[in-house]
Amino acid sequence: MPMETQDFLQMRGIVKNYDGTQALRGVDFSAALGEVHAIVGENGAGKSTLIRILAGAVHKDRGHIFLDGHAVEIDSPIRARRLGIRAVHQEFSLVPQLTVTENILLGQMPTRRTPFWIDWPAAHERAQAILGNIGFTGIDVRSPVANLSVSHQQMVEIAKAVAESPRILILDEPSAVLSQEELKRLFALIRNLKARPTLILYISHRLDEVFEIADRITVLKDGQLVGTVQPNEVDQNQLIRMMIGRSLEEIYPSRHTQIGEPVLVVQNLRHEGAFHDVSFSLSAGEVVGLFGLVGSGRTQLARCLFGAEPITGGQVLLQGKPFHPRSPRDAVNAGVALLTEDRKRDGLVMECTIRDNASLAVLHRLSRWGVLNRAKQDAQVRAQVEELDIRPPQITRLVRQLSGGNQQKVVLAKWLLSQARVLILDEPTRGVDVGTKAEIYRIINELAGRGVAILLISSELPEVLGMSDRVLVMREGRLVGEFSRAQATEESVLACAAGVQ
Amino acid sequence: GPAATPTQQAQTGQRTIRIGMVNFTLCCAYFIGMSKAVQEEAAYYGNIEVIVTDANGDAEKMASDIEDVLAKGVDGIIISGGPLEALPAGLEAIKKAGVPVVLVDRKLKGGEYTSWIGPDNYQIGVQDGQYIVNRLGGKGRLVVLRGGPADNSIGLDRTNGMLSVVQKSDIEIIMAPDFGGWSEDGGYKLMENMLAKYDKIDAVFCENDSMCLGAQKAIADAGRSKEMFLCGVDGQKEALKAILDGTNYACTGLNNSDQIGRAGFHRLMAILAGAVPEKDTVLPSPLISPENACRFYNPDSVF
């Protein structure tokens, strides 16, 4: 039966209940062809769940979905695909061992003569073409995706999704691991898909992005739809109020810094293939931002300082004494902590509880003669869970069942518990909602206030500028600039990072 | 004149003799003893090289082993087939290579062999059967523990031989449902369950001594040693000891793998020397009971 409204996609009374948690409590959502429809909301609001239902990745408990006025039963990804719905999911969904070509054409390899005989040359051409279409060249389609950096992998996922020009394209936090220029490419792509017309559902926690690209914005909260607005009707603060129910006076809280002794001194450090001649120092109570384009070597630097990768040259002084961690263990024992950039890969044990993950780095401190003191453990973990407002707050819940943002908070909790003197944060707010961001920033300041030396690695320029006492800039494995808080401006830092004067 | 036999060549110091000792399995003392016996006998001559293989109970591996030793150019082969029923491929390969083959203990069906030396398992069973019938006076309850698996005709022969006698009496025969795998722990476990199930048992027959020893332990642990006696097969030294000590281990049928091995070796040497011995030789396997056990007990034999 044709709907009274023109909206191409209609989701009615969608209810989803994971064992225990009410992810969606009757959401009515609709969007039209040819629009970019942004979905925003707190961590755990139900954004991913909603679009995973639309993409056939999970099953709704109740509700109906209408496409073009026809009720459709989207009971599997295949079905969704046949209906022209493709998604880039929040979770990594590539096959690492397979080539870029195969991942892009996964499940739709071109065949010759018979329907099962793969035509490899054609496949590679097709993949190459698809990448070309989305303005993303310069990677070898014959190399396994495992060889690509995280951001390149993300572009492959996008290419996969647009491969057969879908009617509905879902992007769940695509920008989290993308660099500026790649983000520009993505937006260009979105705009010309829009013209076809295509419906683009865009989930992100970066509101400036949302305002830039979206035609309409829908806000979810606690599994319910708060409202749908036009970008020009509202400003950021109003939107934030819709999302988290209160307004944030300022996202980057100010603080009066008193900088103490240098804690970490790095002297022309090098790691073959990633960076060289990196020298800087980090003082107690200081927040130093490390900015750079994706692939500039920041993560590798952090991993070296943390003993996760061998140092091939130069030296590090920790509180005056030479410091050469041979393993993360050395670093942790020496009071250095690293919050890694990819929580799934090397931050969390998915099948373990919040309690286990949060206390993983401090087990020795929570035990006597190797026997855990459960009371102490629970108390400390609970405290962190409350401070970070992790939802749901039961510490016995499996981390796998948490939403992306809440998982990130668990990783943070782990390192906050470790009470390190040097805290290296690699993309700490990746996939975290604004409210939580502000919360994390507050905590960073608090730690700095307590005299912790903090190295803040981030690809989000506002974050770097807003938080840092000093800003370091890396380009192609070299430290190319240092700015005091006063000197650091969007233009200067970006120019430096991109290498244009 | 006629080509010199390998032994003649050897005597004239032209070359050493190579023989292959192909075992289906060296899992347990019985077969180890047989293989060892051949090696020991060979050691007496300075110029005999024995190539020993173990197929770990895998018929295909055994066929391969035979191919390998043939490739090595042996003058003769001794096959200890264990429970293996037949191995046409192996025997045919040997025939093609034109070397003599002596089967010890196990007479492989289907395929030509030069000579066989071994026990008559059926007869051994019959002996035990008679002993049981006599001692029970033809009535009571008998539990039978088999080694398995069902394609192991050594066990079948022994059990059938025993049954052929016992079934004529009105002794109640109870077959343990599971197989004991020819080992102590197997026998122990089976017996445990049978003891749990039947509160009155008069005699136990096992297809070999290992299982019987296990069963005896189970009975002792259940405190029912007085109630029943056991009969085994093989003449394993631990069993002989138990019989000598006058326990409820009543009898076993001698099946001396050491003797079989040595006989097999000499049979092969005779053939290599040009002799034409009788095709099949059944070694006597007398019943061993407390009266005659001391004659057979050798504390430091392998088996």
């Binding site: 046949r82 373990c352 | 060296l26 449902p177 369950n193």
Partner: protein, 331 residues
């Protein structure tokens, strides 16, 4: 208009069963609890059938048999569980059982009992350490490493003694092989070990570390956990329990064959998986494993009591294992 069934677009039908399946997989809450109940139910059912059909099942004799028969697999499974949780697998346990059994029997003729047992257990731990070293140091697949040691250790056993060894020390059999009241001594040992391992896994830093490593090794490493050390520990534990099983087996049988223990690894793994452990690490528990061990023990025991002929036993056993994991399966 929301309540009435909307007409479903019928182009490109999709196999119904797949739909149901996904539906079932994602069915909300209570599912997990239901799973555990159903497992328990299946188990209790087994017992009831046993009791009703076989008069002897609940006799004190049979129960203590059951206990004695579960000891070996129980101990091995404990070690196996720890290894599985660490993300590995240990195929060498069967050979280790033989090794320690023959060592404790062979050495006690010359040495004092205590020392003999120490040697046997030590040997087991040594094999475990070797496994752990090769796996953690060279990053080799546990499956293949322990498969290699399985063969190597078995060979060593035969090299040490190709004939069965009889434990000479009378105390050895009477105590370790005996019973305390109706309860076999070995069963008591097993019970204690289960408690110990439960404690190890849930209440010690090492235990949690092992589990974390199995769940995500990189994350554990980056949290400052000494990965290779804990992997070493896991395999050492497995070796230790396998050796303990061997010693108790020798004591129970009063004789140790070099061929004993072949194939035990599969039973142990089966027990762990029936108990909910996931090969590849991360999840699994002591209680579940105990359930698995008991289930397997019961199967054997019952099939014998009911006089089920061997081959049908194998078939039934397979089916019951399937039934157990089906009842126990998680989303």
């Amino acid at each position: 208009m929301m309540d009435q069934d909307p007409k479903v677009e019928t182009t490109e039908q999709f196999p119904r069963q797949k739909v149901l399946q996904i539906g079932r997989l994602l069915r909300p809450m209570s599912r997990r609890r239901w799973v555990d109940y159903s497992f328990m139910a299946a188990f209790v059912l087994l017992l009831l059938i046993a009791a009703s059909v076989s008069d002897v099942f609940f006799t004190q004799r049979n129960v203590s048999n059951l206990m004695r028969q579960t000891v070996t697999n129980g101990l091995i499974s404990l070690g196996m569980l720890v290894v599985i949780l660490s993300g590995g697998i240990d195929l060498s346990v069967g050979s280790v059982v033989a090794l320690s059994a023959i060592l404790v029997s062979g050495t006690q003729q010359r040495l004092p009992l205590g020392l003999a047992m120490l040697i046997a257990l030590g040997a087991g731990v040594l094999v475990g350490l070797l496994n752990g070293f090769l796996i953690s140091r060279f990053k080799l697949a546990p499956f293949i490493v322990t498969l290699a040691t399985l063969g190597a250790v078995r060979g060593t056993v035969y090299v040490y003694s190709e004939v069965p060894r009889v434990p000479s020390n009378p105390i050895f059999r009477s105590v370790l092989g005996g019973s305390v009241g109706p309860v076999p001594f070995a069963a008591l040992v097993m019970a204690v070990c289960f408690v110990l391992v439960w404690f190890f896994l849930n209440r010690t830093t090492a235990g949690r570390a092992v589990i974390a490593i199995g769940g995500n090794e990189e994350a554990a490493r980056l949290a400052g956990i000494h990965v290779s050390g804990h992997i070493l520990l896991a395999y050492a534990i497995s070796g230790f329990f396998a050796a303990t099983a061997g010693v108790l087996l020798a004591a129970r049988l009063g004789i140790a064959q070099p061929s004993v223990g072949a194939g035990y690894e599969l039973d142990a793994i089966a027990a762990c998986v029936i108990g909910g452990a996931v090969l590849g690490g991360g999840s699994g528990g002591v209680v579940g494993t105990f359930g698995g061990v008991l289930t397997l023990g019961l199967i054997d025991n019952l099939l014998n009591l009911f006089n089920v002929q061997t081959y049908y036993q194998q078939i039934f056993k397979g089916l019951i294992i399937l039934f157990a994991v089906l009842a126990r399966r998680k989303e």
